[in-house]
Amino acid sequence: MIQLTNIHKSYTTGNNSLHVLKGITLKIEQGEFVSIMGSSGSGKSTLLNILGILDSYDEGEYFLDNAYIRNQTETKAAALRNRYIGFVFQSFNLISFKNAMENVALPLYYQDVPRKKRNRIAMEYLERMGLQEWAEYMPNELSGGQKQRIAIARAIISKPRVILADEPTGALDTATSYEVMQLIKEINAEGITVILVTHENDIAHMTKRIIRLRDGQIESEVLNGKPPIIN
């Protein structure tokens, strides 16, 4: 599903160049449940952004579902994101002036699904999240857990192959975090690949594979709490 070979990425600010990713090689199969861990500055968010075609990389190769992802136009990238990837963000990133249902339906708008149909589908997904009564509420009227569940519904409505979650529980309390993780687990059980970035050990241990980054390189990989395997 995902094949990264020797990915490098550096950011240039003024005269300073910051080498964030220093050769990441990684293979993730369809249906895997992976967490990426690492201290702040280890490059875990950058890696996730590259995986999500939200950011470009300098060196190496990235194949997503056997398609070579490199320097594609924004229009092409948009189509790939829409078809393959669902995003869940730490800060939810719901559109503030749209209600819950409209937020969930947004990816379908970019698939040219008619309004009525996409709202109906959005309602189905909200029901699945147990939020059907909140469909007309605006994001600022909802709790963090509710917002994240809406964001998850939005991420899966386009039936993506991969869900990328950037600290999905980072803004939530423990109980809510576990609820959200339970949802993500269920999604993974349906065969969707889930990759999440976290710095919380308990969250990471709910996944089936833990990749630890340190200074832009993979430090270790743990498979379901078992000893690391080397690619």
Binding site: E74, A78, R81, N82, R83, P107, Y109, Y110
Partner: protein
Amino acid sequence: MFDRDKWQEIFSTIKKNKLRTFLTGFSVAWGIFMLIILLGSGKGLQNGVSKEFASSATNTIWVWSGQTSLPYKGMKPGRNIQLENKDYEEVKASVRGIDKSSSRYNIWGNNTLSYKKQNGSFNIRNVYPDYADIEKLIIVKGRFINQPDIEHFRKTTTISTQVEEALFKGEDPMGKYINVNGVPFKVVGLFTDDDSRDENMRTIYLPISTAQRVFSGDNRINTIAITVGDASVTESKEIEKEVRARLATLHKFDPSDPRAIFIWNSLEEFQKFMRLFASIQMFIWVIGFGTIIAGIVGVSNIMMIVVKDRTKEIGIRKAMGATPFSIVSLILQEAVLITSFAGYIGLVLGVVVLETVGSNIESQFFSQPSVDLRIALYALLLLVLSGALAGFIPARKAAAIKPIEALRDE
């Protein structure tokens, strides 16, 4: 482009961002409103002054005599030139292009007009029938001096409504005799002149032939007035030159002498006024243009803020699969919709204000303000386009930045 779903998306965005919509719309509506008021006022000013001119023929040449200032054929300067009947006859007969013409003989000094016990001091102008057309007098009752009056030396007079009021005190003046410096003249007509000059209303007209005989004017005249029909300024200047040359021959003065006779060409004056108008008009356009520029800057500013404000939203949309084109067109269509709608409101408001307030202001130099709607629509189009352009640049920039950067924007 005219995707219904997209419009619904735009309408829902507008509905939920009322302040932003209002601010964008306001600058456009205000710009158009001011432009309408400005153009309308300019038109009102022009109408007012044009009306002022309408009360006197705009194609008249007035000639009156002076004193020579240049030596000519051995004669010293300083000779008085006295115009006479034969000058008028000669000019009328020989100069081509003359439409209406009249000479005028003024009786200076205090002229006492009296009727029964009422009396007053007024101007006496002695003229030919054509004079009524030259001065654009409005005959409200009876008639003006006519040709038989001239030929038969009749003692008739056409008086102004002001003279009527002063002498007759409500009595019907028609057919009554008034005393003009002791000589009775029969009132045959009443006139008014909507010229603003009081002078023209404190006047009675007598047949020139009668007056010259009765008031011992001999064959002297003071003024020759001719109209030149629909001649152009050049043609009118040509006629003016010919008149001067003819009189120079008759009175033996240098045709280039500026003080021997004086000529006032109203067509030329009218053209001067028209040029003044053109300048005023241009001035108004400059201000109008300034207003539009201010509107454009306002719209541009707000559009930039709007795009900045929406950066995060753009990032989210891009993560959800929005193409740069869809982002740009979403923002632009919204901008165009708001600016054209607001511009329309400004247009309507401006016209309403012009019609209600403007039409109640009626003064000497201001009348019937109106606006050329086509120009207003062009201005609106310009504002809409510039608003779109102003939105387009930042929108394209925002759509081009990586979604990750847009998402990071707080």
